[in-house]
């Protein structure tokens, strides 16, 4: 199997008529770390709910680990670990008892190995010392980690983490990132959603970007990077002269500022641009090539600020 998650025309319209997910075609390669990005309210969680069989699609199909959803939910989901829209446990039970409760609901889990599995899962997220503490008294970060522990109770082929760093401090965010790396290193496919690109870009191999219910980009992270056009930027007193040189080299979108000129680099070699500038007698104080940051690309795809035309 080469595809962990695939969907075609997956659509969810809420009863109120609002189109939450609009014909998305997901393709999550097995073994990838897939960052599912988009602002809050762009349909990420609704998509995840459909992938887990919690919500029923209005139209379209989805397959998880090669099994159609939601019909195959009960025979396949035990191969999938998940964290959906924040942790949820019984406040009056301890962390260990909470994990035992979920494990008891899994008809494929072996009760004999449960204590060992719980211990290992708790250890993996650093909660072993708080195992006997009631969930009620857990801090936000501990709750989040317990939810991740629950998804690690069984060997999984796919882990779906919905906003795993929500509400975590920078240290906690770093820990989650490290854990995602570690899970991925085991060969598990990780599907992680976030509204912040910066939180996942270090660990992702692939990204999908959602905007108001539609998937506006999907592919390897490197491909997203390539879509950003690099610009050549020259610091010079003779900006107009530099623009002329750019034009002669065929660079597009040339702009002249007070002490600076820039243009889209395109296929031109930066070395040659620099040489031509010097050759033309332009006094070059500084020369650089800058690609837009992923964050800029991401914001460009998802729109800035609130977007409520859904």
């Amino acid at each position: 199997m080469t595809t962990a998650i695939s969907s075609s025309g997956l659509t969810k319209r809420f009863r109120g008529g609002q189109l939450a997910v609009d014909h998305i075609d997901l393709h999550v390669p097995s073994g990838s770390v897939y960052g599912f990005l988009g602002p809050n309210g762009s349909g990420k969680t609704t998509t995840i709910r459909m992938l887990l069989g919690l919500a029923f699609p209005t139209s379209g199909r989805a397959e998880v680990l090669g099994v159609p959803m939601p019909d195959g939910a009960s025979r396949m989901l035990h191969r999938v670990g998940s964290l959906v829209e924040g942790p949820a446990f019984y406040p009056f039970l301890s962390g260990r008892d909470n994990l035992a409760r979920y494990d008891a609901a899994d008809r494929t889990a072996d009760p004999a190995t449960m204590p060992a599995r719980i211990t290992e899962a708790l250890d993996r997220v650093g909660l072993l010392s708080a195992a006997r503490k009631r969930y009620r008294h857990y801090s936000l970060g501990m709750k989040q980690r317990l939810a991740i522990a629950a998804s690690l109770m069984r060997p999984r082929e796919l882990i779906i983490l919905d906003e795993p760093t929500n509400g975590l401090d920078p240290q906690g965010t770093r820990e989650v990132r490290a854990l995602v790396r570690q899970i991925a290193a085991d060969g598990t496919t990780v599907f992680v959603s976030s509204h912040l690109l910066a939180e996942v870009e270090q660990v992702c191999t692939h990204v999908g970007v959602m905007r108001t219910g539609r998937l506006v980009f999907q592919g390897p992270l490197a491909e997203l990077r390539r879509t950003g056009a690099a610009r050549v930027i020259v610091q010079t007193a003779d900006a107009d002269g530099a623009v002329k040189v750019f034009a002669s080299l065929g660079l597009t979108d040339a702009q002249a500022g007070p002490d600076e000129a820039s243009a889209v680099l395109g296929d031109a070699e930066p070395e040659r641009v620099c040489a031509e500038l010097v050759h033309a007698g332009i006094g070059v104080r500084g020369f650089s090539v800058a690609a837009p940051s992923l964050e800029d690309l991401f914001v460009g795809l998802t729109g800035e600020g609130f977007d409520v035309d859904g």
């Binding site: 069989g53 939910a73 008809r107 494929t108 009760p111 290992e120 993996r124 069984r154 990780v190």
Partner: protein
């Protein structure tokens, strides 16, 4: 849609290796995937093939049932409810012992008849307690557990995780209903047992004089009490099915519990309006107190059977509604 083209590189770019940060450092690379070592691979494979081979399937059912029972019965709030069913018979017994019952008429319900008998036989405290608690206390006990069953999980958000485990919607609902029925049975048995003990301690015990006037040996009286208890438990199980259905409609357990109680009280009130006598037999609470016919000789089986039929119909009707709703609704909590 401007979805970028997929590259022919599925999973080709391997995820970044090497863990940094606190958790990463805790685990040397060789221990990774250790979880896989604990669970024998055949379990995963068996599950993957969707095989629910019967012995294993039944074990898994029992395991979920046990976990559910532990969750419900060990919960402080529910233990408090059961404590209430212990306290009430004790209080009623002491009150009746201290202030001797007034046998004069004024009503003709089974309760009044029971009061007249109590002075002569402590066994009747069980019937008094059951018919008294059946008006409000037992329905509250059942309503709390049934109303909380699905709505409570939805409220905590644990429902989505149970379904993602996956517990299976039908399986989870069936186990929930089984626990409601067992809890109702438990509460009813506690009322009977405690009031029997209290009655034996405070009043004379001997051959039981039935409501119809004839006297039966104590053993037969106790057997009849057992049937009364089971009948009341059946009535509460039917209420539990109604409660389960209500519980699938909301994620606010309190709302579900209140709705069930409003339903019970409304039914009881309507049942007591003479002008509405025509619809009386179809109300969910109408047959609850019909157990008094077990205490007559000969036993009037027709009203008992009608009662059991009513409970059965209500259980099937609302159980089906709960199933249809629960297996088709989006879980949005």
């Amino acid at each position: 849609m401007s979805t970028a083209e997929r590259t022919g590189d599925p999973g080709g770019s391997s995820p970044p290796r090497g863990a940094e940060g606190v958790w990463g450092e805790r685990f040397p690379p060789k221990s990774r995937g250790g979880l896989g070592g604990i669970v024998p691979p055949e379990i995963t494979e068996q599950g993957a093939s969707g095989g629910d081979r019967s012995p294993r399937g039944i074990t898994a059912w029992l395991r979920l049932l046990r976990a559910e029972l532990r969750l419900v019965f060990l919960r402080k709030r529910n233990m408090l409810l059961l404590a209430v069913t212990v306290v009430f018979p004790v209080v009623i017994g002491i009150a009746l012992r201290v202030a001797a019952p007034h046998p004069q008429g004024g009503g003709n319900g089974p309760g009044v008849a029971f009061f007249n008998q109590l002075a002569g036989n402590g066994v009747f405290l069980a019937f008094i307690a059951l018919s008294t608690l059946l008006i409000l206390v037992l329905p509250v006990v059942v309503a709390v557990v049934a109303g909380d069953s699905v709505a409570g999980e939805a409220g905590y958000g644990t429902l989505r995780y149970l379904l993602a485990v996956p517990a299976g919607r039908t399986r989870l609902l069936a186990v929930k209903f089984a626990v409601i029925v067992l809890f109702a049975l438990c509460a009813t048995v506690i009322v009977s047992a405690v009031s029997l003990a209290v009655g034996a301690g405070l009043f004379p015990v001997g051959p039981v004089t039935l409501l119809s006037g004839s006297t039966v040996p104590l053993a037969e009286g106790l057997l009849r009490l057992l049937f009364v208890t089971l009948y009341v438990a059946a009535a509460m199980a039917a209420l539990g099915a109604i409660g389960l259905a209500v519980s699938t409609l909301t994620e606010h357990a309190i709302g579900a519990i209140a709705a069930i109680m409003i339903l019970v009280v409304t039914s009881e009130v309507v049942d007591n309006v003479p002008q509405l006598a025509a619809i009386g037999p179809y109300l969910p609470t109408h047959w609850w107190l019909s157990f008094d016919s077990i205490l007559r000789a000969p036993v009037d089986t027709s009203s008992l059977l009608k009662g059991l039929l009513s409970f059965g119909v209500y259980a099937v009707l609302f159980g089906s509604f709960a199933w249809a709703r629960f297996t088709s609704a989006d879980v949005t909590s």
